[in-house]
């Protein structure tokens, strides 16, 4: 199986996990998790060095989820990675679950930080990258953030800091789904031109279709090729589509928190499978 097929298969399984978790809880950030599934699959099935049976392994690459509400997508990736049992996913968002609605490091194995208050992830990632480099670790640091977090000044403090300290071991991944809580990003706070902003901060910038696995792998390869302890930090700007992989949701009016009726979950799963099998035929 090619790298690409392997990642696409992982993304497909993760999207199923997301729909199942969403249905069990009756809610969740399903639209975002579906849009980010290809990115998270590329990270966990192709890029990240980790040990499923030892999530705290010192030599692991760090994946920091800044957008706490994407936890549902991250849990699917952690299940795909073998860090969280698939059977546990159905506890998502329930009382006493290790899988709370908003991701927290103190709850979930493999969850490096507590996201959710937006604009924190990249600042922590800067310190993680500095700390690992300082101690001679070759591990890399990945920070997943959303385009909404580009509104936060702290993101840009961190962007400048990463360049100042030449954190070549740091890769930021920005999910640009062009949507935030109050509406379309360009109506809430215009962040474009996003690529120019990162370039001006001194980062190695790539902008790709974040739902195209081949493009994701090429971008991660290019980022990895220039990842050195002392060098330019790298950002991959991923244009994605909310609800990706499920036409019913892709076509629905875009909303930060998507409502899905009980009878629609099965339709979603069938559409997802039909699309995946159609693409892989």
């Amino acid at each position: 199986m090619s790298r690409r097929s392997r990642v696409e298969a992982a993304a497909y399984r993760m999207r199923h996990h997301v729909l199942n978790m969403g249905q069990a809880q009756g809610q969740g950030y399903v639209g975002q998790a579906l849009d980010a599934a290809d990115i998270l699959a590329a990270v966990y099935a192709d890029q990240l060095r980790y040990r499923a049976d030892d999530p705290e392994w010192e030599g692991r690459d760090r994946f920091l989820l800044s957008t706490g509400h994407y936890a549902i997508g991250h849990y699917a990736a952690l299940a795909e990675a073998g860090i969280v049992p698939v059977a546990e996913l159905e506890t998502y968002g329930s009382d006493d679950s290790r899988l709370p609605m908003s991701g927290m490091s103190t709850y979930t194995p493999g969850m490096e930080i507590s996201g959710g208050s937006l604009g924190h992830g990249l600042t922590i990632a800067v310190g993680t990258a500095l700390g690992l480099r300082h101690q001679g670790s070759p591990a890399r640091v990945f920070n997943f953030l959303s385009d909404g977090e580009l509104d936060e000044g702290s993101t840009w403090e961190a962007a400048m800091g990463a360049h100042h300290h030449q954190l070549g071991n740091l890769t930021a991944i920005v999910d640009i789904n062009a949507l935030q809580a109050d509406g379309k990003t360009d109506s809430v706070l215009r962040t474009e031109p996003v690529a120019d902003k990162w370039a001006a901060c001194g980062w190695f910038v790539q902008r790709i279709d974040g739902n195209d696995v081949a493009a994701l792998l090429a971008a991660f390869d290019a980022a990895a090729a220039q990842a050195v302890p002392e060098g330019q930090p790298s950002v991959i700007l991923c244009d994605t589509r909310i609800g990706r992989g499920v036409p019913l949701l892709e076509d629905r009016e875009k909303a930060h928190f998507m409502r899905i009726e009980e009878h629609e979950w099965q339709i979603c799963r069938e559409q997802l499978t039909a699309g995946y099998e159609g693409d892989t035929k």
Binding site: G116, S117, T123, G131, H134, Q135, A158, G161, H164
Partner: protein, 316 residues
């Protein structure tokens, strides 16, 4: 304009925090230092000169400073991160709270200009830092009196699990507690002197003022005990309440607003223990303070030795 709270001719020690951090770093290679463009003004420059490869300048970016300190702690390092107290408490609160305190990381926050230790006005005067920080779970709060406290506290802060906040006294810091049978113990209050008429419960630089006021009150035939409680949280209620629960007048003294600091800590502990008695606060008023010379401002707002003596004589 006088910018020091030390008395003229008082014995002082230069940059006790910076030198103590260098010494602690000799013992513990995990210790690193960070600052947000205030290295020279928080005595962090002493550490930076001694250990340039273990010092990280984060720029005038306090959110990055504390987020990055959290990230470094997660890799096993022991960061000391310095800025002014106003910026730590007001500007970077969310980062301290969620990235450091919630995961209970060993990050040591070093805040310069606590309370009224600058005449620059509200932009620099952290008169409510303890009130802000006392509500943060997991955070240890230390309000040192002098260079002795700071020198002895630094290695204990590094060794203690979880986050700490140090109300830094910088530059030429008064040296007072060496004249007493005293050692700093994290989490402990100490009785510095006994007295039959009045009990002072004090923290920070107000312990220095409390000791001086106690000496001068002897001339008024008032015998004053002084309890120094440099750890504000967790609070050593046992030691303090043993002194409070007597017939003597109890006065709290703090370099902080009367809201949410030492006075309310002592009062809350007393009420919980069923001790119902009057406690007189010497503290800053609940208002934005004026700019000016420190001696003028300490006199105006009741922190000077003369004002303490008048407060006590009025209350007796």
């Amino acid at each position: 304009m006088i910018a020091s709270f030390a008395d003229p001719g008082q014995k002082t020690t230069p940059a006790p925090f910076g030198h103590a951090l260098v010494k602690a770093a000799q013992e513990n290679e995990k210790i690193v230092g960070l600052t947000a463009d205030l290295g020279k003004y928080t005595d962090m420059h002493i550490f930076a000169q001694a250990y340039p490869e273990r010092f990280f300048q984060m720029g005038m970016a306090e959110q990055l400073l504390f987020g990055a300190a959290a990230g470094m702690a997660q890799t096993g390092l022991v960061p000391f991160a310095s800025t002014y107290s106003v910026f730590a408490a007001r500007r970077a609160y969310d980062f301290l709270c969620l990235d450091i305190a919630e995961p209970n990381l060993n990050v040591n926050i070093v805040g310069g200009l606590p309370g009224l230790t600058t005449g620059y006005g509200p932009s620099h005067q952290a008169t409510e830092d303890m009130a802000i920080f006392r509500g943060m779970p997991n955070l240890t709060i230390v309000d040192p009196c002098d260079s002795v406290d700071i020198e002895q506290a630094v290695p204990q802060l590094a060794a203690s699990e979880g986050p700490t906040y140090l109300r830094l006294l910088r530059g030429n810091v008064p040296t007072v507690l060496d004249e007493y049978d005293y050692t700093f113990e994290l989490g402990k209050a100490k009785v510095l002197r006994g007295g039959n008429d009045v009990v002072f419960v004090s923290s920070g630089l107000m312990t220095m003022r409390a000791l001086q006021a106690a000496k001068e009150l002897a001339a008024h035939n008032v015998d004053v005990a002084v309890v120094h409680t440099p750890t504000i949280k967790p609070f050593d209620a046992g030691t303090v309440l043993a002194e409070v629960d007597t017939d003597r007048l109890v006065v709290t003294l703090e370099n902080h607003t009367v809201v949410g600091g030492l006075f309310e800590t002592v009062a809350g502990a007393a009420v919980r223990a069923g001790i119902g008695k009057r406690i007189v606060p010497v503290a800053l008023p609940d208002e934005f303070l004026e700019a000016g010379a420190l001696p003028t401002l300490h006199e105006r707002y009741g922190l000077s030795v003369g004002r303490i003596i008048r407060t006590v004589l009025d209350a007796l």
